[in-house]
Symmetry: C2
Subunit: 108 residues, 2 copies
Amino acid sequence: MKTKAELIPECPVAITVQLIGNKWKLLIIRNLLQRPWRFNELQRDLDGISQKVLTDSLRSMEADGIITRTVYPEVPPRVEYALSELGHSLQPILDAMKAWGENYKAGL
Amino acid sequence: MKTKAELIPECPVAITVQLIGNKWKLLIIRNLLQRPWRFNELQRDLDGISQKVLTDSLRSMEADGIITRTVYPEVPPRVEYALSELGHSLQPILDAMKAWGENYKAGL
């Protein structure tokens, strides 16, 4: 059986792409960099995402240690998603994407 | 009819995600940051990419002005893909992804 370290790519860019190289994950991370979000809030904000894809994306990022899922014992239970420390360390990538997008828009 | 500027998202991160927020495009850009590549070279290097997905990704990035496609009049014709100036300006995003991947790997 392979260890986690053996399953990940050699190339560091490929590692990052494997974990977050996906439209919806990147947009979820953009939102969670602001503050914790609830599932329904995310679904409303991410125009066009299905419930299944949002669920799968959140579970996958939780399994990879990028986000945390906290259930507050209320009625009905409140569930919040937040970035872990590892997730917060993605900030420079999102900052670079923001700067590039601003520059692209200015050039249109 | 909407102009190109009206079709793009308000959020600069969403603009970048719309243009390059995709596993294969990010890996193609990683390769083209080194030097121009030929189609078959890219297909060999990008483990698991189909001919159709590689063709579609390259066409889409060419249409978005991120890469150029140059046909050299040889027999058989040689076709090379390279980053445009706009494509080269993606370097800081890929640099941040590389740094994050290295850090992630070091923490395993």
